[in-house]
Symmetry: C2
Subunit: 338 residues, 2 copies
């Protein structure tokens, strides 16, 4: 082959390699969801585009449970709570006769949680309050370092959705500031959100309990009090966003009715918006649930997404790979047998 | 002159120009305060230094009133409150006979504020609640665009300390993330803090009132409720820092006893720390006040700064220039007559 043909061929190969390397969302199958993300980012970051958003206003908010990591068979913070109760039980012999502790320690979760919100609240306050913020941070960090999923046996921090990690990175590479806005405990997420999601503590918004400043023998501490301060769920999410960010997001990502108000608040701003719901449709690789689920119920949100034309991710069909731990070759049916 | 001498001279001139241009704090006189700042930044940002702080942990928190802008003859948010009462008075004829409104409308502030915290609380709720967050943001932005200082006649946004703007910029240029942590209203500061200080809304922490999400004819709004939510002053400051940042600052800047807990919390962390108090000592260019002042009282803080070796800025002697509006040549005594 002559030199010109050779160089031409090299050029084509290089372009193909570049195109492959340049796909910012390799775990997303081509389809409406991926296209909506790519178009939104192109429009909001191209100067002169009618949809252009200045970098300072590129705020993207993500729910955590069911949106960035799994939430079945129960919210992972619930697993932390149960482990804490077991670990604390030896100091509390009285729990053998007190509900919800007694049932919980016998492994009878159904009876333990029969008390509803009051029972959960009591368990939360017992396990999440009464220590300093630094002690709690260490507790959560130590726990998550070894905590495994009851079904898959994987570390909980591996039960994270690979396509969403790619989306977070893609948005950040395009000047978006990414926030977590979760119903989960703010201080439960912060010790690991930076390592796992690349989201620093100051961009993690969540539910919280009251905290009090004290000098203990001259040493300042923040003491976690057994009293709810803020519930960052449902209509609390836009409130939490206003409190912590003070600017309306241009993109919001959720998976349940608890995210509906956040999506509505985001959608109602002027200019281009990306509102996206992760729909759990994959019983083989993950779980399939929506309108009837106890965790992450998605009912009104599904209707509103359809009515308003929001992007709904069909996990089964839109994602090549679900969890970060899945070997890539196993979940790339479009790349042929290997 | 021969070419070698010429080039040598050019080199010296260039180096001198570079050195002058490179002073990151030109409005600070040489002295202990400036030296402490320069040493802290050099130590925390030099890899291999025992004081090195990774970029993600370079959190610097600034009080606002009396630290970044003036606070005499009263907190500027108080001026906003008084203007709002006057503007709202025509809709409230009953105020002519109700305190604290009646005295306030007659210009008798002493009687109006005689009711103490309860009176101020009532004025605050009347003027700061009952509208949506977007309406309040516009109100604050419109007001600050034209609000002038009762003594200097300058725009309030010009009553900002030039040396502190330089300090903010210097820290940011060295990878620090700068936050406001103020007793003032979070939503009062956010509409202008980015333009004036380069601090985006998500890095403005302050006091707040409760906010509620509502759908009004299908349009989502956040409604400001007449109820205090969080007081970001005194022991509230470390709590606000934990809530919004979730990481202990390495540098804290204040000017009053309301900042003491924040300074203590910052100082108590491991490694290099910069704790700095702006001491108002300049009755000619600004105001001179400390232990007895009604606004920005600095009493315990002054004692603790001395005991702990914190940096105290003597405004009169440490600052060449106080306000951003001062012409530079007037306040550079060390540069000789011009």
């Amino acid at each position: 082959m002559n030199k010109r043909v050779f160089l031409g061929l090299m050029g084509i190969l290089a372009a193909a390699a570049w195109a492959a390397a340049a796909d910012p969302l390799p775990s997303w199958n081509d389809g409406a969801a991926k296209e909506a993300i790519l178009q939104f980012v192109a429009g909001t970051t191209t100067e002169g585009s009618p949809d252009f958003v200045p970098p300072a206003e590129r705020i993207a908010v993500f729910d955590n449970d069911g949106t960035l990591w799994a939430e079945q068979p129960m919210y992972f913070q619930g697993l932390f709570m149960l482990d804490r109760v077991k670990r604390m039980a030896s100091q509390h012999p009285e729990w053998k006769e007190q509900e919800p502790f007694a049932s919980l320690l016998k492994g009878d979760l159904k009876t333990a949680f029969a008390g509803g919100e009051a029972a959960v609240g009591r368990l939360l306050m017992t396990t999440h309050a009464g220590m300093t913020s630094e002690e709690f941070e260490k507790m959560a960090a130590d726990w998550i370092a070894g905590a495994r999923h009851p079904k898959t046996g994987r570390l909980l921090t591996e039960m994270v959705y690979q396509p969403m990690l790619e989306l977070l990175a893609f948005l950040r590479a395009n000047g978006f500031k990414t926030f977590i806005v979760s119903g989960g405990g703010m201080e439960f997420m912060r010790p690991w959100a930076e390592r796992v999601y690349g989201i620093p503590p100051e961009q993690v918004i969540g539910s919280s309990i009251k905290t009090k400043f004290e000098l203990r023998d001259g040493v300042p501490v923040l003491v976690r009090m057994p009293e709810s301060d803020f519930v960052d769920d449902g209509p609390g999410k836009p409130v939490g966003i206003q409190m912590h960010i003070g600017r309306r997001p241009v993109a919001a990502f959720g998976n349940s009715d608890g995210d509906l108000a956040m999506l509505q608040w985001t959608a109602a701003g002027p200019g281009a918006r990306l509102c996206l719901i992760v729909h759990h449709t994959d019983a083989d690789r993950e779980w399939a649930y929506d309108r009837e689920s106890h965790a992450g119920r998605l009912d009104k949100g599904l209707d509103e997404a359809a009515a308003r034309g929001w992007t709904v991710v069909d996990m089964k069909n839109d994602w090549k790979r679900v969890f970060v731990f899945e070997a890539e070759q196993l979940v790339r049916p479009d790349s042929g047998p290997q």
